[in-house]
């Protein structure tokens, strides 16, 4: 079992190295981002603990994938397998539990740990036959695949918007709106297999315009329920709502350009830094967007010329 965890550690280090990061620096960045995100989340909404649990379990659920666990079962004895699964699930939720303890949310920390340990005994079959319907069938694939992977988070978002309307908390409503776009950004976080770019009859510019059009259309579709709720219940804030919507579109374009600016490889650390910088200080977008655009054109030219 020790060899298994050493191997997992090595694999994690290799993934960090693939991102161009020294593993120690990588772990430090992950730690800093995690603390920063947790602090931010808990400072923004009283529902943070529920979202926190959901995020923790979404990581744990990835370890419960059926094929992965069938493989582990085939190589470990049953008792070793259960122990191993419990240990790896515990490792994943440990930072979340530690932060909840720091926040003195002891019952939540116990609950998250207990459910996580129970999840070690469950395999999620990702190959079930039910196809989740989406309104995105005309232009696969980012929103089709992304929505199916995260539909429960959208349900949560829409619930948050309803709660925001019922308690008159405009900030929470805007938070829900921004989460829709954050999820949409995540659909563009990984580069697709090169075959899917190569197949297009288009110039790099035309290809990017198509991607942006689809992203605008479908992210609008996903945000409309929240937009309507906010406009109806907070009519005095329409200008602010539209400003956030506009900003989200601009960041969506940035993410799409950023994705293809290092294609077919994943976004690297400097690109991540530029995105983070533009979130903290939006005026830099004036330089960041053209930079990513030019890089994308160069990278896509290899496949679309």
């Amino acid at each position: 079992m020790k060899a298994y965890f050493l191997l997992q550690f090595k694999m994690t280090n290799r993934k960090l190295a693939d991102y161009g990061l020294n593993p120690i620096l990588g772990f430090c960045i992950i730690f800093a981002v995690f603390i920063g995100f947790s602090m931010y989340l808990f400072s923004r909404t009283e529902f943070a603990v529920y979202m926190y649990m959901l995020i923790a379990w979404s990581f744990v659920a990835k370890l419960s994938e059926k094929k992965r666990n069938d493989f582990l079962k085939s190589i470990f004895l049953k008792i070793s397998y259960v122990k191993l699964r419990m240990i790896e699930n515990s490792i994943v939720v440990l930072p979340f539990v530690a932060f909840l303890i720091y926040k003195q949310l002891f019952p939540d920390a116990i609950m998250i740990t207990a459910i996580t340990l129970m999840m070690a005994l469950v395999n999620f079959n990702s190959t079930f036959n039910y196809t989740i319907p989406t309104p995105f069938y005309k232009k696969p694939f980012e929103f089709t695949v992304g929505f199916r992977n995260t539909f429960y988070l959208f349900l949560l978002n829409y619930s948050l918007a309803c709660i925001a309307a019922s308690v008159g908390n405009f900030n929470l409503g805007v938070f829900a709106l921004l989460l829709v776009f954050l999820l949409s950004f995540s659909f563009y976080s990984k580069p697709e297999n090169e075959y899917y770019v190569w197949s297009f009859i288009d110039t790099p510019k035309g290809f990017l315009i198509k991607k942006i059009k689809t992203a605008f259309l479908y992210s609008t579709l996903l945000s409309i329920p929240i937009l309507l709720i906010l406009c109806i219940f907070f009519p005095g804030e329409i200008k602010t709502i539209l400003l956030f919507q506009l900003l989200s579109y601009i960041y969506l374009v940035t993410i799409i350009f950023a994705k293809y600016s290092n294609y077919p490889d994943e976004m690297n650390v400097p690109q991540g830094f530029l995105i983070a910088l533009s979130v903290l200080f939006p005026p830099v977008l004036v330089g960041v967007i053209p930079f990513f655009y030019v890089q994308s054109m160069k990278k896509l030219n290899v496949f679309l010329a």
Binding site: Y195, F200, I201
Partner: protein
């Protein structure tokens, strides 16, 4: 027509294709055979423009990739995309209207299900259906018969004959000699990145016999099976 002139490909310092010269004509089916790692897939990826290379690849319809249906050995599918959506995606990429996809579902695939849940053979049939609906002029089929059931293999052979009749250029690789001898006009033998032999239909039997002789030889005896 596709013309390959003096094509070379390096991975680092290792040269995997060495000064390849090939000519593929309209209305003909070409077979590429060779051992694992001989460079077949790399050659296909170079022709498709998926790999940087030395040498010139030209065609009568340009850009070549816009008229090429490429069936990879292991087609890639997103985790939550249905068969129908996959076909739609590839047709959208070529600015084509798909029409009624179900009418053209000749392999009776469950198009409403996620493609990632398909078996190996079904995935291959789905990828093939998509590139056929794309109305390409050139086809590169990398091991199309692998993992596909015998009924579909028969359909696949018939499709290749039909493509030939329609004047398309088809290039196939396969490890099953009979599938090539049934469908190809020419077979090219690739070894360590070099084409060592070109054989026409009338000599396929001789090629198969020669391959058996050189490949198997006395290797089985070395196993010492008792």
């Amino acid at each position: 027509m596709i013309n390959v002139e003096n094509l070379s490909k390096y991975y680092g310092t290792k040269q995997v294709l060495i000064h390849i010269n090939l000519h593929f004509e309209k209305g003909k089916v070409y077979g590429i055979v060779g051992e694992n790692g001989s460079g077949k897939t790399t050659l296909f990826r170079c022709i498709a423009g998926l790999e940087k290379h030395e040498g010139i690849i030209s065609a009568d319809l340009l850009p070549l990739k816009n008229h090429l249906g490429l069936l990879l050995t292991e087609p890639f599918f997103f985790s939550k995309i249905t068969g129908r959506e996959y076909i739609r995606l590839l047709c959208n990429a070529r600015n084509l209207h798909t029409g009624n996809i179900d009418d053209r579902n000749i392999f009776d695939l469950p198009l409403h299900q996620y493609a990632s849940t398909y078996s190996t053979g079904m995935k291959k049939k789905l990828a093939l259906t998509a590139i056929l609906i794309q109305e390409n002029q050139y086809f590169i089929l990398d091991e199309p018969f692998n993992g596909v059931d015998i009924q579909s293999n028969i359909i696949l052979a018939a499709i290749i004959h039909k493509l030939k009749d329609l004047g398309k250029t088809v290039i196939i690789s396969s490890h099953i000699f009979s599938t090539l001898s049934d469908t190809c006009d020419e077979i090219h033998l690739l070894k360590n990145g070099v084409f060592i032999k070109k054989v026409y239909q009338e000599d396929f039997d001789k090629l198969e016999a020669a391959m058996k002789e050189t490949t198997v030889g006395n290797k089985i005896d070395k196993l010492g099976l008792i």
